[in-house]
Amino acid sequence: MSKSSARYVMRLLVAGASLAVVAQAQAAPPPTELSGASLFAQNCSACHQLTGKGVPGAFPALAGDAFPQGPPEPVVRLLLNGRGGMPSFRADLDDRQIATVLTYVRSAWGNHAPRIEPAMVARVRGSAAQDHAAQALQAH
């Protein structure tokens, strides 16, 4: 059913709200555009940590790491398709959100690499969208 509703929930969160506040949010505020930092906190920090330092042996550090600061296309591809314990965000984040969060990763914690544009994400995503199975009422 509601892949779109899953996306919608993500957009409910007020930009800059801490995760603790997010958890207590009751009613649905109007959708707002999220900053790179909030997108990272919501979607990435559980594994890569807010510090970008990751968890050794399981979740690689993004702070100071060469790969996310390297050529953009492989990084975008990784976010879209995932790999092992790195999830696919193809169905959950749109082109603009992926560009925004990656631009954040490329500039936070002392990282320094050019921004990534939504148009580039759209190009890598391609037309044959392979969204993972829409979130079903029941799964597993």
Partner: protein
């Protein structure tokens, strides 16, 4: 004109079309029809007769590893099994008093449920067609009980729609009776007006009208939906002078705008169909029974670091609980580590095989068990098991226990969320997760938050030795990577739920083990 229609259907788009409508099963049937080789599904373990005098190193003690070790040993192989954790079962797991878990990047957690109470944080239900799982319950004497996977009297809580039925709990039986009743009424009206005469052969029309009447509880004479006892009474019938006070249907427009109808399906998905079971006492009962049977060939707290091979055999390097490094050797290896974990192991295989291991990503998934002081959902709401669906994907559903009926306390599954929603909730502290879950349930039950005593939560993507709920194959991954991993690389065979079309189910792990050890045995006997 529409170009897509003008073009003949390619084989691939035909298959994709089937996938969209009927899921993988239909795709497979379609592939069969088009002449791809599709194997028939096994319903019992392979018969491994013939020579078996080899030593097999099995890695991992989830259902895939346990099944492999059990069947290979039974066939006469010399089997040794290495498991990283201090318990068998992998994802087949139960949290009860004393269970400890520290997620990667998380706080230490010790389950403090009362004695006898538990939650299954991973697998929790077994549909009737999981023949392999039920086979081993029979063989190893693990009793099962019914798992209530659908409850007419449960609530639906949808908050994104509008109108009087949004943002309040609505009984599923009311939504089902009214939505389907009105739909049947409208269709009957069209049929009676002759609008669909083209679609009927002689005699069909009357039968179709009979069906609509039965489906929607329509009135005998004029095919109207005016409510039905199945949607519940305002006052239930009782003894003496109490015939019951019928309830009044909701307005169709209110139902539509609430979106609650999206919980209705003509029939449950294949994976979700009743009869559904759970092992009595917890999901760890089957692995525990396997473990008892296998005895000393299972080596716990042996973390595999390296798997190497020559054309003579395999060697597996591990670290044990004391931090000592060691290795075991054998003729072949059956490796059931999740691919998310295997990526981090020093593995001696061909580059193509290694790439294929990276050709899949794993699902994010989170659950929380909340111990409740009292079973208010049973006592005050007459809800016995089943699910409360939310359209807030951060919650997903609340699930009421199918065990301990009419007892004092119980453990409720407080949320079950996936993907980005699971990423988000898993970034919360343990206390914040519990507070989030309590607030969600409070929207449905006024008694909810005050009854929460303690909780146990899990985010599978942060669990060591799992790093994910289950393998999430894309179409490209299934086409390019999956077939490579089904074949051995030298002397190394992979198995696990990730190598099945029953992914994310224990049955997938069991049947994958059957299929891979059958290949191995055939080779030994070649």
């Amino acid at each position: 004109m529409n170009e897509a229609i003008a073009q003949p259907l390619s084989r691939r788009s035909f298959l994709e079309g089937l996938g969209g409508v009927g899921g993988t099963g239909l795709v497979l049937a379609g592939m069969s029809a088009l002449g791809f080789g599709i194997e028939a599904r096994a319903a019992a373990p392979p018969v491994l007769s013939g020579r078996a005098g080899k030593r097999i190193v099995v890695l991992g003690s989830g259902v895939a590893g346990l099944t492999s070790a059990y069947e290979l040993r039974k066939a006469g192989y010399d089997v040794v099994l290495l498991e990283a954790r201090n318990r068998v079962g992998g994802r087949s797991y139960t949290a009860r008093r004393g269970t400890q878990l520290t997620e990667l990047g998380g706080e230490p957690q010790t389950c403090s449920f009362d004695e006898g109470l538990y939650i299954n944080p991973g697998p929790w239900r077994i549909p009737y067609h999981h023949y392999g799982y039920l086979h081993y319950c029979r063989t190893l004497g693990v009793p099962v009980e019914l798992f209530n996977n659908d409850n007419d009297h449960s609530y639906i809580y949808y908050e994104k729609g509008s109108g009087p039925l949004a943002r309040r709990p609505v009984r599923k039986q009311e939504v089902a009776a009214d939505t389907r009743g009105y739909a049947a009424e409208m269709l009957a009206k069209q049929v009676n007006q002759g609008a669909l005469d083209q679609a009927f052969s002689p005699g069909d029309k009357e039968l179709f009208l009979d069906y609509l009447k039965s489906e929607g509880y329509l009135t005998d004479k004029d095919f109207r939906y005016i409510g039905t006892p199945g949607r519940g009474y305002d006052t239930d019938p009782g003894a003496g002078l109490q015939p019951g006070v019928p309830s009044t249907p909701y307005a169709m427009s209110d139902l539509l705008h609430s979106h609650t109808w999206d919980t209705l399906k003509s029939v449950s998905d294949f994976d979700q169909q009743r009869t559904m079971f759970q092992p009595l006492g917890g999901m760890d009962r089957l692995p525990a029974a396997f473990g008892r049977d296998l005895g000393p060939i299972v080596h716990l707290q042996h973390v595999v670091e390296k798997i190497s091979q020559t054309d003579q055999g395999v060697t597996v390097g591990y670290v044990d609980a004391q931090g000592q490094r060691g290795s075991v050797s054998g003729d072949y290896c059956v490796c059931t580590l999740p691919l998310s974990v295997l990526r981090g192991v020093d593995l001696q295989v061909s580059p193509g095989f290694k790439d294929a291991i990276g050709g899949v990503s794993y699902a994010l998934v989170g659950k929380i068990g909340l111990q409740m002081k009292r079973r208010f959902w049973e006592e005050d709401h007459a809800i016995y098991g089943g699910h409360i669906y939310f359209d807030d994907a951060d919650v997903g559903s609340i699930n009421l226990p199918s065990t301990g009926w009419l007892g004092k306390k119980g453990v409720v599954l407080g949320y079950y969320q996936f993907f980005a929603n699971a990423a988000k909730i898993s970034a919360l502290s343990l206390a914040e997760r519990q507070a989030f879950a309590a607030a969600a349930g409070q929207k449905v039950f006024p008694q909810y938050a005050e009854n929460v005593e303690t909780s146990f939560s899990i985010a599978w993507h942060r669990v060591p030795y799992n790093l994910g709920g289950w393998a999430q194959w894309s179409d490209d991954g299934r086409r390019d990577a999956y077939p490579k991993l089904l074949e051995p690389d030298g002397r190394i065979y992979l198995a696990g739920e990730h190598l099945s079309y029953i992914g994310g189910w224990q049955e997938g792990g069991i049947e994958s083990a059957w299929s891979q050890i059958a290949k191995l045995h055939k080779r030994v006997n070649a």
